[in-house]
Symmetry: C2
Subunit: 308 residues, 2 copies
């Protein structure tokens, strides 16, 4: 029972936030996404104040110096104490720890949301900390980002025209959901609702697996004897194909770990597909190889309009 969290019953205030005064925002995790959401909400005139916390003192100081937050106290509790909306923007495996730090300090009626790339693990962790899924917790995931990390890379336009997935749960309060939806829409995101398990299956395919593949490819090259000369001769195709291999290893470790079943299943399929292609090359089955390339090219071209 989330009542165990020692919070008063949720005031159904979501709707009123949305129409009413600007929110007091707290961001836990001052990285690329947390910093960008803070900047974007301020630019959209949605916030009256922003406080933030990050375990890394340099990120806290930087966030203040860059004007991303108004204050960055030395504990989560101080950062969130007065907030109307708390955004958890930590690596997904830090969700439970962050929620445990937020919970005792949360004021009545506050809404908590997250920006994690996996949704089942986040909901499970929040449930574990709170005893049950709280109505005031809204699971979210912006489909935006760059390979860069840290609050210094944050920008207010990161979410414009990008998808934002919300995964409402069974105990979800409609007002809390509406508040979070409205804030994301105010910064230009296109909000889509999707069941958490569906979310995790889809993003294993479009995002988690490609990161594993890109890391594996660059890692292999780096261990070849002539790595220096190989990288020196890389062109634009290589740069784009490997861009995501510059992403935060810690963050992607967390994501793969949190969504390991889906990622492992797809990785196994991908290995099988590559083994088939290797067989086609070894057996000189050239028309069949070209047919695979054509099927892939056609699929990408057909769906290109959807790709942001």
């Amino acid at each position: 029972m989330w009542a165990r969290c020692a919070l008063p019953a949720l005031r159904r205030c979501g709707k009123s936030w949305h129409d009413g005064p600007r929110v007091k925002l707290a961001v836990v995790g001052l990285g690329l996404i947390g910093g960008s959401f803070a900047r974007a909400l301020r630019a959209a005139g949605q916030v009256s104040s922003i406080r933030g916390y990050d375990a890394d003192e340099r990120q806290r100081r930087l966030a203040v110096d860059l004007g991303v937050v108004d204050a960055a106290p030395g504990s989560t509790a101080e950062a969130v104490a007065d907030a109307d909306l708390v955004v958890l923007a930590v690596p997904v495996l830090r969700t439970a720890e962050a929620m445990a730090a937020v919970l005792p300090a949360l004021k009545a009626g506050a809404v908590v949301t997250d920006v994690g790339s996996t949704k089942q693990s986040v909901l499970a962790d929040v449930q574990a900390v709170c005893g049950a899924l709280p109505p005031w917790f809204v699971a979210g995931h912006p489909i935006a980002g760059t390979e860069k990390s840290g609050v210094a890379a944050s920008n207010a336009e990161l979410f414009r025209n990008k998808r934002l997935i919300l995964s409402p749960h069974a105990a979800q309060d409609a007002g809390a959901l509406a508040l979070v939806r409205g804030l994301w829409e105010s910064v230009g995101a296109r909000v889509v609702e999707m069941d958490a398990s569906r979310h995790d299956a889809i993003f294993a395919a479009t995002s988690h697996l490609p990161h594993v593949l890109a890391y594996a490819f660059v890692d292999m090259l780096s261990r070849l004897g002539d790595a220096e000369e190989i990288f020196a001769n890389a062109g634009g195709g290589f740069r784009d194909f490997t861009r995501i291999a510059s992403s935060s290893p810690r963050m992607w470790h967390d994501i793969v770990r949190a969504n390991r079943e889906s990622v492992a299943g797809l990785l196994e399929q991908q290995i099988a597909e590559l083994s088939e292609l290797l067989g086609l090359i070894r057996d000189e089955q050239w028309p069949a190889l070209q047919a695979r390339f054509e099927r892939a090219r056609n699929a990408r071209e057909q769906h290109l309009a959807h790709i942001e």
Copy 2:
């Protein structure tokens, strides 16, 4: 013996072309690369006339209509008859066929070069057609391109600040080499000489294998039951990772086939690497997984300055 080609002995005219009057250019294969080189050489004031041939009549007509070539007659022989420099810009497996069509029409002293992504196969095919490697043939490969195909996508700036590999062979005429080098430099390319076998090993790693991996990844996704929804939720990382899967299947079939030993060897290594990563995920070896991601990220960052 290339003398069997029934050409008069090569006049050592390469040097004089370079310093002397502008060249009469012929481009065989009016696609992205052939068209872009023609446009770039014209913009650099290096050519007095450009004739072109393509097996596809639409590309010939388009090349004339776009002003890429002055004329596009209906046969290779007519296109190259008066040329000082002939550029073969066909899919690599069409090299022998193109060379066989060029050879009888080539005037004395003309230089022939190519732009193929594999160099050993091109040299072998030219040797097979001519009986021996002709001093007037210069093997080249611009490290430039996009996922787009066809003369309509060509542009004069494609090669600026991009690498251009020349693979001189044992019988190479120095004047012919200097002519081709000078023309590429005149359009902004950074010319590097590299042995053909070295070239093929390196570009198997930086270019040929990533294309196979990107095609395989998109092909796998396209066959999942929920492909439509998967593609609809793709973000920027996906777009960049899969960009090269929109490349010409025919062209990449040719390249993989022409460089099959190197590509197959690396693909086998990549499958082994992915199988190791799958093992780490299945066995929940999380620190080891993160260490792989870190090694890859660090390698990419370290070499990023080299990547064009």
